[in-house]
Amino acid sequence: MSEELEKPVNTKKIKEILSANDSARIKTWLSICARCGLCAESCFFYLANNRDPKMSPAYKFKNTLGEMYRRKGEVDRAFLRKCYDMIWGECTTCKRCSMFCPFGIDISTMIATARAVCNSQGIVPEGLARTSANYRETGNQMGMATEDFIETCSWMEEETGEEMAGLTIPIDKPGAKYMYTVNAREPMYYPQDIAMAAKIFTVAEEDWTMPSFGWDCTNLAMFAGDRALAGQVVKNVYDKAIELGVQNILITECGHAYRSAKYEGPYFLGYQDGKPPVNVVHSVKVFYEYVRDGRIKIDPDKMIEGPVTYQDPCNVSRNGGLWEEGRALTRLLCKDFRDMSPNKDLNHCCGGGGGYIPMGPEFKKRRMISGQIKAEQIRATGAKIVIVPCHNCFDQIRDLDKEYGLGVKVMSFKEIICESMIVPEKFQPRDEDEEEDEAGGGGE
């Protein structure tokens, strides 16, 4: 950042972005905000920072994008640096304020536009800039090579195949019902996540595949304010789905990936109909249907006894519409479910959204402060386990657990399902003797 401050500002570029975004919506929002202040109480940054009025959503958009338009793009780097702290450090674009504004002003869209302006001048958190470079080079945020990804999948297939007979991780299978896409950190750091998903699909006897490209459904470019790249990232997934002729794109337990693929992607790409070319579904919904419909049976003896709460990831619940499915699935898996308050479409962001987790150490302190609201919510439930179907919430709540001494275990649905599902006989691992017997018997 420091050397960035020395560089001149390309106001021509800024004006272009401002002009391209000078839509009826933004014009109207900027001009009718009545400065009533109702949005303040809706924002967890405001609540967690001793009700600092500078944390109110209206203050943030007024002093970033509002000011950019007021100055007609004639801004300097010092101003953009101030914006940087507000639009990345004090907003996760969770959209909660839109629900509390009498005019329904979509402040997160305006913050995202301000991010686009800053990004155009190279003002962007380093953690996000790094992922942008990776997306450009490899199509995934962690810069993982295709061979490494495929190798990881086959390694997981091999290893997990020992625990579950008949388990495969099909790659590029044409016409599958679900093309399962993941967060790049799964193959990179948590390959067992892929293994667990494979187990669930195997037991559910699902027709699924993983793509060899476009497998990373995350879209941090969306949060970095690079809309052209954000469009390309989501297009990688769409294109592969079309190429394979799959029926649905299935998103792993990740929130923003769902928002990107299902809702924002078509906007980035300027699709006239505003819809993704292939239907997009989220794991929470699919897993819920498996358990609800008995395709996956939960062992009653293995159901979680202790108190459990469910974290509504903003981009799965409010911005994804799946709060009921998440709860219903939790109830099917756990005996003592305790809801947070507020919740569902009015949940508070955990503080890890909007690119905050990958933004790294520079923002860690602020992230821990703003996460206080979520920490208190969790503590109030008395839960010992927090189910979190989102990678960014997952990291944040684990950090909050340490910071605030919550004493909770953070788990994904995958993990709980794998621990408690009944694996039918035919998928039970065959021990060596049996296999030999079968071979000796000259069976299949």
């Binding site: 001009s31 629900m99 329904g104």
Partner: protein, 219 residues
């Protein structure tokens, strides 16, 4: 004075109505045109039911979570708007003038009621003004223009009230009453007060964008 009154109640009033209605129509038409060009994609997600709910829930008192979270402010806010629209429209004296000028009028409320409502309205104005001053999250957003608009909104009511009671110089009060009301009407289409119409559009949009697509209630 009489000439000034005749001017304000005559040609100036016509110009005011022209600017008020014309300005609103122009603003809507301009924004609509712009939206067809730049926000086109959102028309795909239009949904009358969600749009309607999103509007109505914010028109009824405590109809939204946000309003229920701040019940006192919401009540004042609601009463303020009801009085602001209701008193001028249903005032007996105004209806007499319309009957005279256009041959049509609305039902009217009694002068006593109008008088009491005006006091209630002005109390709401004081509340909103003080709220802007004392609540840090509101004060930080508030500009001089916001205070000015609030005072301007109150001005026709104050002058009308004084004129009705014949406190102070009657003719001057009457002239101020008409003048401030005309200034207010002229400003509405070109300021944040344009929300008298734009409210319905922004609420409809967020209603169906969050509701029809995601099932999230924006109220």
């Amino acid at each position: 004075m009489v000439e000034l009154y005749n001017f304000l109640a005559g040609p100036a009033l016509w110009v005011t109505f022209f600017i008020f209605f014309g300005g609103l129509v122009f603003r809507i038409a301009y924004l609509y045109g712009l939206s067809r060009e730049r926000d086109r994609v959102f028309y795909n997600h239009m949904d009358a039911r969600w749009a309607f709910q999103s509007i109505v829930r914010w028109l009824i008192p405590w109809g939204s979570v946000s309003m229920r979270n701040q019940p006192v402010f919401s009540l004042v806010f609601f009463v303020f708007h009801v009085c602001l629209l209701g008193i001028p429209l249903f005032l007996y004296a105004h209806n007499l003038l319309w009957e005279e000028a256009f041959g049509v009028s609305l039902p009217s409320i009694s002068d006593g009621l109008a008088d009491n409502l005006t006091i209630v309205f002005l109390a709401c104005v004081v509340f909103l003004f003080v709220r802007r001053l004392v609540r840090p999250e509101v004060r930080i957003l508030t500009t001089a223009w916001d205070y000015a608009l609030l005072l301007l909104t109150a001005a026709p009511f104050v002058s009308g009230f004084l004129a009705y009671h014949q406190w102070g110089p009657y003719q001057l009060m009457l002239i101020l009453h008409i003048l401030t009301a005309e200034v207010l009407l002229v400003i509405i289409p070109f300021s944040k007060l344009g929300h008298i119409i734009l409210f319905f559009f922004t609420r409809a949009f967020i209603g169906f964008e969050m509701g029809a697509r995601r099932g999230a209630r924006t109220w």
